[in-house]
Protein backbone atom coordinates (compact mmCIF):
# COMPACT_ATOMS: atom_id res chain seq x y z
CA UNK A 1 0.00 0.00 0.00
CA UNK A 2 2.81 2.28 0.94
CA UNK A 3 4.40 1.64 -2.42
CA UNK A 4 1.16 2.63 -4.08
CA UNK A 5 1.09 6.04 -2.32
CA UNK A 6 4.69 6.61 -3.19
CA UNK A 7 3.97 6.08 -6.87
CA UNK A 8 0.96 8.42 -6.72
CA UNK A 9 3.01 11.15 -5.04
CA UNK A 10 5.82 10.72 -7.52
CA UNK A 11 3.37 11.00 -10.41
CA UNK A 12 1.82 14.20 -9.01
CA UNK A 13 5.24 15.81 -8.42
CA UNK A 14 6.38 14.85 -11.91
CA UNK A 15 3.24 16.44 -13.36
CA UNK A 16 3.80 19.70 -11.46
CA UNK A 17 7.44 19.88 -12.43
CA UNK A 18 6.59 19.20 -16.01
CA UNK A 19 3.95 21.94 -16.06
CA UNK A 20 6.38 24.44 -14.42
CA UNK A 21 9.06 23.62 -16.89
CA UNK A 22 6.56 24.04 -19.71
CA UNK A 23 5.42 27.40 -18.26
CA UNK A 24 9.00 28.64 -17.97
CA UNK A 25 9.67 27.64 -21.54
CA UNK A 26 6.51 29.42 -22.64
CA UNK A 27 7.20 32.70 -20.70
CA UNK A 28 10.95 32.73 -21.26
CA UNK A 29 10.98 35.68 -23.67
CA UNK A 30 8.55 37.67 -21.62
CA UNK A 31 10.75 37.23 -18.58
CA UNK A 32 13.75 38.43 -20.50
CA UNK A 33 11.91 41.54 -21.74
CA UNK A 34 10.68 42.15 -18.25
CA UNK A 35 14.22 42.13 -16.86
CA UNK A 36 15.52 44.46 -19.56
CA UNK A 37 12.73 46.89 -19.04
CA UNK A 38 13.36 46.91 -15.35
CA UNK A 39 17.05 47.56 -15.88
CA UNK A 40 16.41 50.36 -18.37
CA UNK A 41 13.85 52.05 -16.19
CA UNK A 42 16.25 52.00 -13.28
CA UNK A 43 19.05 53.49 -15.38
CA UNK A 44 16.84 56.23 -16.74
CA UNK A 45 15.44 57.00 -13.35
CA UNK A 46 18.91 57.24 -11.78
CA UNK A 47 20.21 59.47 -14.55
CA UNK A 48 17.16 61.70 -14.33
CA UNK A 49 17.45 61.88 -10.60
CA UNK A 50 21.11 62.93 -10.91
CA UNK A 51 20.27 65.59 -13.49
CA UNK A 52 17.48 66.99 -11.37
CA UNK A 53 19.60 66.96 -8.24
CA UNK A 54 22.18 69.15 -10.03
CA UNK A 55 19.62 71.92 -10.18
CA UNK A 56 18.66 73.92 -7.11
CA UNK A 57 15.10 73.57 -5.99
CA UNK A 58 14.87 77.37 -5.75
CA UNK A 59 15.98 77.61 -9.34
CA UNK A 60 13.38 75.06 -10.41
CA UNK A 61 10.64 77.23 -9.00
CA UNK A 62 11.66 80.09 -11.29
CA UNK A 63 10.31 78.55 -14.48
CA UNK A 64 6.97 76.96 -15.34
CA UNK A 65 8.71 73.91 -16.75
CA UNK A 66 10.70 73.57 -13.51
CA UNK A 67 7.55 73.80 -11.41
CA UNK A 68 5.81 71.17 -13.50
CA UNK A 69 8.93 69.02 -13.29
CA UNK A 70 8.90 69.23 -9.52
CA UNK A 71 5.24 68.26 -9.37
CA UNK A 72 5.70 65.42 -11.78
CA UNK A 73 8.76 64.18 -9.92
CA UNK A 74 6.96 64.19 -6.59
CA UNK A 75 3.95 62.48 -8.18
CA UNK A 76 6.15 59.82 -9.71
CA UNK A 77 7.87 59.29 -6.38
CA UNK A 78 4.53 58.88 -4.70
CA UNK A 79 3.25 56.71 -7.54
CA UNK A 80 6.26 54.49 -7.94
CA UNK A 81 7.77 54.82 -4.44
CA UNK A 82 11.27 56.03 -5.40
CA UNK A 83 11.79 58.10 -2.24
CA UNK A 84 12.47 55.17 -0.17
CA UNK A 85 16.24 55.51 0.09
CA UNK A 86 18.27 54.40 3.00
CA UNK A 87 20.22 56.84 5.17
CA UNK A 88 23.62 55.94 3.75
CA UNK A 89 22.57 56.56 0.19
CA UNK A 90 21.00 59.85 1.21
CA UNK A 91 24.14 60.95 2.99
CA UNK A 92 26.29 59.95 0.06
CA UNK A 93 24.06 61.87 -2.28
CA UNK A 94 24.18 64.93 -0.02
CA UNK A 95 27.95 64.73 0.17
CA UNK A 96 28.15 64.43 -3.56
CA UNK A 97 25.88 67.45 -3.96
CA UNK A 98 28.04 69.47 -1.60
CA UNK A 99 31.22 68.58 -3.44
CA UNK A 100 29.53 69.54 -6.69
CA UNK A 101 28.46 72.87 -5.25
CA UNK A 102 31.99 73.53 -4.01
CA UNK A 103 33.35 72.85 -7.50
CA UNK A 104 30.77 75.13 -8.98
CA UNK A 105 31.64 77.89 -6.53
CA UNK A 106 35.30 77.46 -7.35
CA UNK A 107 34.52 77.78 -11.01
CA UNK A 108 32.45 80.89 -10.37
CA UNK A 109 35.24 82.32 -8.27
CA UNK A 110 37.73 81.75 -11.06
CA UNK A 111 35.36 83.35 -13.55
CA UNK A 112 34.83 86.29 -11.22
CA UNK A 113 38.56 86.73 -10.80
CA UNK A 114 38.99 86.61 -14.53
CA UNK A 115 36.24 89.18 -14.99
CA UNK A 116 37.85 91.30 -12.31
CA UNK A 117 41.12 91.17 -14.24
CA UNK A 118 39.35 92.20 -17.41
CA UNK A 119 37.57 94.96 -15.54
CA UNK A 120 40.86 96.17 -14.09
CA UNK A 121 42.37 96.28 -17.57
CA UNK A 122 39.31 98.11 -18.80
CA UNK A 123 39.57 100.53 -15.93
CA UNK A 124 43.23 101.23 -16.72
CA UNK A 125 42.39 101.81 -20.35
CA UNK A 126 39.49 104.04 -19.36
CA UNK A 127 41.79 106.04 -17.10
CA UNK A 128 44.26 106.47 -19.94
CA UNK A 129 41.51 107.60 -22.27
CA UNK A 130 40.29 109.90 -19.58
CA UNK A 131 43.75 111.42 -19.28
CA UNK A 132 43.92 111.90 -23.03
CA UNK A 133 40.46 113.41 -23.06
CA UNK A 134 41.46 115.77 -20.29
CA UNK A 135 44.51 116.83 -22.28
CA UNK A 136 42.44 117.32 -25.42
CA UNK A 137 39.89 119.19 -23.41
CA UNK A 138 42.59 121.49 -22.08
CA UNK A 139 43.89 122.09 -25.59
CA UNK A 140 40.39 122.73 -26.83
CA UNK A 141 39.78 125.18 -24.02
CA UNK A 142 43.00 126.96 -24.88
CA UNK A 143 42.04 127.05 -28.55
CA UNK A 144 38.57 128.29 -27.69
CA UNK A 145 39.96 130.98 -25.44
CA UNK A 146 42.31 132.05 -28.23
CA UNK A 147 39.46 131.99 -30.70
CA UNK A 148 37.29 134.01 -28.36
CA UNK A 149 40.06 136.50 -27.75
CA UNK A 150 40.60 136.85 -31.50
CA UNK A 151 36.87 137.13 -32.06
CA UNK A 152 36.53 139.67 -29.31
CA UNK A 153 39.03 141.99 -30.98
CA UNK A 154 37.38 144.38 -33.33
CA UNK A 155 37.50 142.84 -36.79
CA UNK A 156 36.19 146.06 -38.29
CA UNK A 157 39.18 147.86 -36.88
CA UNK A 158 41.55 145.33 -38.48
CA UNK A 159 39.74 145.70 -41.79
CA UNK A 160 40.01 149.45 -41.56
CA UNK A 161 43.73 149.26 -40.86
CA UNK A 162 44.18 146.81 -43.71
CA UNK A 163 42.27 149.07 -46.06
CA UNK A 164 44.33 152.08 -45.05
CA UNK A 165 47.54 150.09 -45.55
CA UNK A 166 46.42 148.91 -48.99
CA UNK A 167 45.47 152.45 -49.97
CA UNK A 168 48.86 153.64 -48.78
CA UNK A 169 50.58 150.93 -50.83
CA UNK A 170 48.53 151.84 -53.91
CA UNK A 171 49.32 155.53 -53.42
CA UNK A 172 53.04 154.77 -53.08
CA UNK A 173 52.92 152.58 -56.18
CA UNK A 174 51.28 155.40 -58.12
CA UNK A 175 53.90 157.83 -56.90
CA UNK A 176 56.64 155.43 -57.91
CA UNK A 177 55.10 154.99 -61.36
CA UNK A 178 54.80 158.75 -61.76
CA UNK A 179 58.40 159.22 -60.65
CA UNK A 180 59.49 156.57 -63.14
CA UNK A 181 57.55 158.26 -65.91
CA UNK A 182 59.05 161.60 -65.02
CA UNK A 183 62.51 160.14 -64.93
CA UNK A 184 62.03 158.44 -68.30
CA UNK A 185 60.56 161.59 -69.78
CA UNK A 186 63.40 163.69 -68.42
CA UNK A 187 65.92 161.18 -69.67
CA UNK A 188 64.28 161.00 -73.10
CA UNK A 189 63.97 164.75 -73.23
CA UNK A 190 67.64 165.14 -72.38
CA UNK A 191 68.64 162.65 -75.04
CA UNK A 192 66.37 164.33 -77.60
CA UNK A 193 67.83 167.76 -76.83
CA UNK A 194 71.33 166.35 -77.04
CA UNK A 195 70.71 164.55 -80.32
CA UNK A 196 69.00 167.60 -81.82
CA UNK A 197 72.02 169.70 -80.86
CA UNK A 198 74.24 167.08 -82.42
CA UNK A 199 72.07 167.08 -85.52
CA UNK A 200 72.34 170.87 -85.86
CA UNK A 201 76.10 170.70 -85.43
CA UNK A 202 76.36 168.01 -88.07
CA UNK A 203 74.10 170.01 -90.40
CA UNK A 204 76.30 173.07 -90.08
CA UNK A 205 79.38 170.89 -90.58
CA UNK A 206 77.82 169.51 -93.75
CA UNK A 207 77.04 173.04 -94.95
CA UNK A 208 80.64 174.06 -94.39
CA UNK A 209 81.89 170.98 -96.17
CA UNK A 210 79.56 171.78 -99.09
CA UNK A 211 80.94 175.31 -99.16
CA UNK A 212 84.49 173.95 -99.31
CA UNK A 213 83.56 171.44 -101.99
CA UNK A 214 81.90 174.19 -104.07
CA UNK A 215 85.31 175.95 -103.92
CA UNK A 216 83.63 179.10 -102.71
CA UNK A 217 86.55 179.67 -100.41
CA UNK A 218 89.29 178.68 -102.82
CA UNK A 219 90.41 175.95 -105.16
CA UNK A 220 90.93 172.43 -103.88
CA UNK A 221 93.49 169.98 -105.09
CA UNK A 222 92.29 166.44 -105.86
CA UNK A 223 93.55 165.01 -102.59
CA UNK A 224 91.79 167.72 -100.56
CA UNK A 225 88.55 167.09 -102.51
CA UNK A 226 88.83 163.37 -101.92
CA UNK A 227 89.30 163.89 -98.19
CA UNK A 228 86.42 166.35 -98.00
CA UNK A 229 84.09 163.95 -99.83
CA UNK A 230 85.00 161.21 -97.35
CA UNK A 231 84.25 163.61 -94.49
CA UNK A 232 80.93 164.50 -96.11
CA UNK A 233 79.96 160.85 -96.60
CA UNK A 234 80.75 159.94 -93.03
CA UNK A 235 78.99 163.01 -91.65
CA UNK A 236 75.93 162.35 -93.80
CA UNK A 237 75.81 158.75 -92.52
CA UNK A 238 76.14 159.97 -88.94
CA UNK A 239 73.36 162.48 -89.62
CA UNK A 240 71.08 159.72 -90.88
CA UNK A 241 71.90 157.55 -87.90
CA UNK A 242 70.96 160.28 -85.48
CA UNK A 243 67.75 160.98 -87.37
CA UNK A 244 66.84 157.31 -87.11
CA UNK A 245 67.71 157.29 -83.46
CA UNK A 246 65.42 160.26 -82.83
CA UNK A 247 62.66 158.53 -84.71
CA UNK A 248 63.06 155.29 -82.74
CA UNK A 249 63.01 157.22 -79.48
CA UNK A 250 59.90 159.08 -80.58
CA UNK A 251 58.23 155.82 -81.58
CA UNK A 252 58.97 154.28 -78.22
CA UNK A 253 57.40 157.26 -76.48
CA UNK A 254 54.21 156.97 -78.49
CA UNK A 255 51.53 155.56 -76.27
CA UNK A 256 48.75 155.57 -78.78
CA UNK A 257 48.43 155.32 -82.46
CA UNK A 258 48.77 158.38 -84.50
CA UNK A 259 45.84 160.16 -85.99
CA UNK A 260 43.67 158.37 -88.51
CA UNK A 261 44.06 160.46 -91.57
CA UNK A 262 42.26 160.29 -94.83
CA UNK A 263 44.89 159.18 -97.31
CA UNK A 264 44.55 159.48 -101.07
CA UNK A 265 46.53 156.41 -102.01
CA UNK A 266 47.44 157.44 -105.56
CA UNK A 267 48.70 160.85 -104.52
CA UNK A 268 50.36 159.48 -101.43
CA UNK A 269 52.31 156.82 -103.30
CA UNK A 270 53.38 159.34 -105.89
CA UNK A 271 54.75 161.65 -103.19
CA UNK A 272 56.67 158.83 -101.48
CA UNK A 273 58.14 157.62 -104.77
CA UNK A 274 59.24 161.14 -105.58
CA UNK A 275 60.83 161.40 -102.16
CA UNK A 276 62.92 158.28 -102.60
CA UNK A 277 63.46 158.75 -106.31
CA UNK A 278 66.91 160.30 -106.08
CA UNK A 279 68.50 157.12 -104.72
CA UNK A 280 66.73 154.92 -107.26
CA UNK A 281 67.63 157.19 -110.13
CA UNK A 282 71.26 157.32 -109.02
CA UNK A 283 71.50 153.56 -109.43
CA UNK A 284 69.35 153.61 -112.58
CA UNK A 285 66.91 151.23 -110.96
CA UNK A 286 63.61 150.49 -112.67
CA UNK A 287 60.68 151.10 -110.32
CA UNK A 288 57.39 149.35 -111.07
CA UNK A 289 54.37 150.62 -109.15
CA UNK A 290 51.09 148.73 -109.04
CA UNK A 291 48.21 150.50 -107.28
CA UNK A 292 44.64 149.35 -106.66
CA UNK A 293 42.06 150.96 -108.90
CA UNK A 294 39.15 150.60 -106.52
CA UNK A 295 40.55 152.68 -103.65
CA UNK A 296 41.09 156.38 -103.70
CA UNK A 297 40.79 157.14 -100.02
CA UNK A 298 41.58 155.07 -96.98
CA UNK A 299 41.82 155.95 -93.31
CA UNK A 300 45.24 155.26 -91.78
CA UNK A 301 48.16 156.81 -89.96
CA UNK A 302 49.57 158.83 -92.82
CA UNK A 303 52.95 159.63 -91.32
CA UNK A 304 53.56 156.06 -90.21
CA UNK A 305 52.57 154.77 -93.61
CA UNK A 306 54.91 157.22 -95.27
CA UNK A 307 57.84 156.23 -93.06
CA UNK A 308 57.20 152.54 -93.67
CA UNK A 309 57.10 152.97 -97.41
CA UNK A 310 60.21 155.16 -97.45
CA UNK A 311 62.12 152.62 -95.35
CA UNK A 312 61.08 149.72 -97.53
CA UNK A 313 61.84 151.52 -100.79
CA UNK A 314 65.17 152.78 -99.46
CA UNK A 315 66.09 149.29 -98.36
CA UNK A 316 65.07 147.85 -101.73
CA UNK A 317 67.05 150.54 -103.55
CA UNK A 318 70.09 149.90 -101.38
CA UNK A 319 69.80 146.15 -101.81
CA UNK A 320 69.29 146.17 -105.57
CA UNK A 321 72.32 146.39 -107.84
CA UNK A 322 72.87 148.99 -110.54
CA UNK A 323 70.09 148.85 -113.16
CA UNK A 324 68.15 146.53 -110.93
CA UNK A 325 64.39 146.44 -110.50
CA UNK A 326 62.25 147.44 -107.55
CA UNK A 327 58.52 146.69 -107.53
CA UNK A 328 55.92 148.30 -105.32
CA UNK A 329 52.51 146.69 -105.17
CA UNK A 330 49.68 147.99 -103.00
CA UNK A 331 46.46 146.02 -102.52
CA UNK A 332 43.39 146.26 -100.35
CA UNK A 333 42.35 142.97 -98.75
CA UNK A 334 39.15 142.22 -96.92
CA UNK A 335 38.97 139.45 -94.34
CA UNK A 336 36.46 138.75 -91.56
CA UNK A 337 34.68 142.10 -92.07
CA UNK A 338 37.98 143.94 -91.77
CA UNK A 339 40.05 145.63 -94.44
CA UNK A 340 43.79 145.60 -94.69
CA UNK A 341 46.34 147.43 -96.79
CA UNK A 342 48.92 145.02 -98.19
CA UNK A 343 52.16 146.69 -99.29
CA UNK A 344 54.70 144.53 -101.12
CA UNK A 345 58.14 145.85 -102.04
CA UNK A 346 60.36 143.54 -104.08
CA UNK A 347 64.00 143.98 -104.96
CA UNK A 348 66.58 142.13 -107.02
CA UNK A 349 69.24 142.22 -104.36
CA UNK A 350 70.12 138.56 -104.62
CA UNK A 351 67.89 137.27 -101.82
CA UNK A 352 68.60 136.70 -98.14
CA UNK A 353 70.26 133.51 -96.87
CA UNK A 354 67.95 131.41 -94.65
CA UNK A 355 70.30 131.75 -91.68
CA UNK A 356 70.00 135.57 -91.89
CA UNK A 357 66.22 135.71 -92.20
CA UNK A 358 65.62 135.92 -88.46
CA UNK A 359 67.93 138.93 -88.21
CA UNK A 360 66.39 140.96 -91.05
CA UNK A 361 64.39 143.25 -88.74
CA UNK A 362 67.17 143.58 -86.18
CA UNK A 363 68.89 147.02 -86.09
CA UNK A 364 72.10 147.35 -88.12
CA UNK A 365 71.56 144.17 -90.02
CA UNK A 366 73.00 144.02 -93.50
CA UNK A 367 73.14 141.00 -95.69
CA UNK A 368 76.66 140.14 -96.77
CA UNK A 369 76.07 140.28 -100.50
CA UNK A 370 74.32 143.66 -100.47
CA UNK A 371 76.30 146.16 -102.55
CA UNK A 372 78.42 148.80 -100.87
CA UNK A 373 76.66 150.73 -98.20
CA UNK A 374 75.06 153.74 -99.76
CA UNK A 375 74.47 157.07 -98.19
CA UNK A 376 71.52 157.11 -95.79
CA UNK A 377 71.35 153.34 -95.39
CA UNK A 378 72.02 152.93 -91.70
CA UNK A 379 70.67 149.43 -91.14
CA UNK A 380 67.85 150.78 -88.96
CA UNK A 381 65.30 151.17 -91.75
CA UNK A 382 63.69 147.75 -91.50
CA UNK A 383 63.68 147.92 -87.73
CA UNK A 384 61.82 151.25 -87.85
CA UNK A 385 59.39 149.85 -90.44
CA UNK A 386 58.70 146.89 -88.16
CA UNK A 387 58.12 149.10 -85.14
CA UNK A 388 55.75 151.35 -87.06
CA UNK A 389 53.85 148.40 -88.51
CA UNK A 390 53.40 146.77 -85.13
CA UNK A 391 52.33 150.11 -83.67
CA UNK A 392 49.53 150.03 -86.26
CA UNK A 393 48.59 146.56 -85.08
CA UNK A 394 49.90 145.25 -88.39
CA UNK A 395 52.31 142.61 -89.48
CA UNK A 396 55.54 142.65 -91.49
CA UNK A 397 57.44 139.75 -93.00
CA UNK A 398 59.82 138.95 -95.81
CA UNK A 399 59.69 136.35 -98.58
CA UNK A 400 62.98 135.64 -100.23
CA UNK A 401 64.29 133.39 -102.96
CA UNK A 402 68.03 133.07 -102.76
CA UNK A 403 68.39 131.24 -106.06
CA UNK A 404 66.10 133.62 -107.98
CA UNK A 405 67.80 136.56 -106.30
CA UNK A 406 64.86 138.58 -105.06
CA UNK A 407 63.28 139.50 -101.74
CA UNK A 408 59.76 140.72 -101.12
CA UNK A 409 58.90 142.70 -98.00
CA UNK A 410 55.23 142.46 -97.06
CA UNK A 411 53.38 144.82 -94.77
CA UNK A 412 49.78 144.23 -93.72
CA UNK A 413 48.10 147.13 -91.94
CA UNK A 414 44.46 147.43 -90.89
CA UNK A 415 42.65 150.34 -92.53
CA UNK A 416 39.14 151.70 -92.91
CA UNK A 417 37.38 152.78 -96.08
CA UNK A 418 34.41 154.69 -94.68
CA UNK A 419 35.13 155.70 -91.09
CA UNK A 420 38.35 155.93 -89.12
CA UNK A 421 39.38 152.68 -87.49
CA UNK A 422 40.83 152.32 -84.01
CA UNK A 423 43.96 150.40 -84.78
CA UNK A 424 44.68 149.82 -81.11
CA UNK A 425 41.35 148.16 -80.45
CA UNK A 426 42.87 144.73 -80.86
CA UNK A 427 45.73 145.25 -78.50
Amino acid sequence: MSETYLFLLAGAIAGLVASFIGGIILYRNRLRIHLRLHERVEQERTALHNDISEIDKEELVETDAGKELMHLSQASIQQFGYAREDVTTSLKRHNYDLLKQIDEHRKRLAQTEERLGVMAALQQESEKRLENLKKENTELRLANSLKNSVASTNSAQIEQELRITLEEVARLQNQLAEANMRFIEAETEGITVFTEELLQTLSSTLQYVDLLLDESTGNLNPMQRNFLETVKGSTTRLHGLIEDFIQVTTLRRRTSAAAHDSVDLHLFIKEVVDETGSQIRAKRITLNVDLPENADFVYADREALRQILIRLLSNAGAASPLQGTVSLQVQIKAEARKEYLLIQVSDTGGGIPPEDLRRVFVPFYRAEDVPARGVGDTGMGLFIAKMLTEAQNGRIWVDTELGVGSSTYNVLIPIARDTPVNVNAGK
Partner: protein
Protein backbone atom coordinates in the same frame (compact mmCIF):
# COMPACT_ATOMS: atom_id res chain seq x y z
CA UNK B 1 -5.30 -5.77 -14.64
CA UNK B 2 -2.51 -6.33 -12.20
CA UNK B 3 -1.60 -4.03 -9.35
CA UNK B 4 1.43 -2.47 -11.03
CA UNK B 5 -0.58 -1.22 -13.98
CA UNK B 6 -3.19 0.29 -11.73
CA UNK B 7 -0.51 2.14 -9.76
CA UNK B 8 1.02 3.62 -12.91
CA UNK B 9 -2.36 4.71 -14.20
CA UNK B 10 -3.18 6.35 -10.90
CA UNK B 11 0.25 8.01 -10.87
CA UNK B 12 -0.40 9.42 -14.35
CA UNK B 13 -3.80 10.60 -13.30
CA UNK B 14 -2.30 12.40 -10.30
CA UNK B 15 0.27 13.99 -12.66
CA UNK B 16 -2.54 15.23 -14.88
CA UNK B 17 -4.29 16.79 -11.97
CA UNK B 18 -1.05 18.31 -10.83
CA UNK B 19 -0.57 19.79 -14.32
CA UNK B 20 -4.05 21.19 -14.27
CA UNK B 21 -3.29 22.96 -11.04
CA UNK B 22 -0.47 24.99 -12.80
CA UNK B 23 -3.01 26.65 -15.15
CA UNK B 24 -4.15 29.27 -12.65
CA UNK B 25 -0.56 29.70 -11.55
CA UNK B 26 0.45 30.53 -15.12
CA UNK B 27 -2.49 32.90 -15.43
CA UNK B 28 -1.40 34.69 -12.28
CA UNK B 29 2.13 34.91 -13.60
CA UNK B 30 0.87 36.31 -16.87
CA UNK B 31 -1.13 38.96 -15.02
CA UNK B 32 1.86 40.07 -12.98
CA UNK B 33 3.97 40.23 -16.05
CA UNK B 34 1.52 42.44 -17.96
CA UNK B 35 1.03 44.68 -14.94
CA UNK B 36 4.77 45.18 -14.64
CA UNK B 37 5.08 45.96 -18.32
CA UNK B 38 2.38 48.59 -18.01
CA UNK B 39 4.09 50.04 -14.99
CA UNK B 40 7.40 50.17 -16.81
CA UNK B 41 5.84 51.90 -19.78
CA UNK B 42 4.23 54.43 -17.45
CA UNK B 43 7.53 54.96 -15.71
CA UNK B 44 9.34 55.47 -19.00
CA UNK B 45 6.65 57.86 -20.14
CA UNK B 46 6.98 59.82 -16.91
CA UNK B 47 10.75 59.85 -17.21
CA UNK B 48 10.50 61.10 -20.81
CA UNK B 49 8.10 63.84 -19.73
CA UNK B 50 10.43 64.83 -16.90
CA UNK B 51 13.36 64.89 -19.32
CA UNK B 52 11.44 67.17 -21.61
CA UNK B 53 10.52 69.50 -18.77
CA UNK B 54 14.11 69.50 -17.54
CA UNK B 55 15.35 70.47 -20.96
CA UNK B 56 12.76 73.23 -21.20
CA UNK B 57 13.80 74.50 -17.81
CA UNK B 58 17.49 74.50 -18.77
CA UNK B 59 16.82 76.33 -22.03
CA UNK B 60 14.70 78.90 -20.25
CA UNK B 61 17.40 79.48 -17.65
CA UNK B 62 20.03 79.78 -20.35
CA UNK B 63 17.93 82.34 -22.21
CA UNK B 64 17.41 84.27 -19.00
CA UNK B 65 21.14 84.18 -18.30
CA UNK B 66 21.88 85.58 -21.74
CA UNK B 67 19.24 88.26 -21.33
CA UNK B 68 20.74 89.19 -18.03
CA UNK B 69 24.22 89.35 -19.56
CA UNK B 70 22.97 91.54 -22.38
CA UNK B 71 21.30 93.84 -19.86
CA UNK B 72 24.50 94.06 -17.87
CA UNK B 73 26.57 94.88 -20.94
CA UNK B 74 24.04 97.50 -22.02
CA UNK B 75 24.09 99.08 -18.59
CA UNK B 76 27.88 99.14 -18.54
CA UNK B 77 27.97 100.71 -21.98
CA UNK B 78 25.46 103.33 -20.87
CA UNK B 79 27.54 104.08 -17.81
CA UNK B 80 30.71 104.37 -19.89
CA UNK B 81 29.02 106.71 -22.34
CA UNK B 82 27.68 108.81 -19.52
CA UNK B 83 31.13 109.03 -17.93
CA UNK B 84 32.73 109.97 -21.24
CA UNK B 85 30.14 112.64 -21.94
CA UNK B 86 30.68 114.10 -18.46
CA UNK B 87 34.40 114.24 -19.00
Amino acid sequence: MNEMTTVILLGGLMGLFGGLITIPVNALFNYWSKRDELEYSLKLESIAKQRELLLQHKLEMERRGKDKLIDQISKRLDNLEKNLSHE
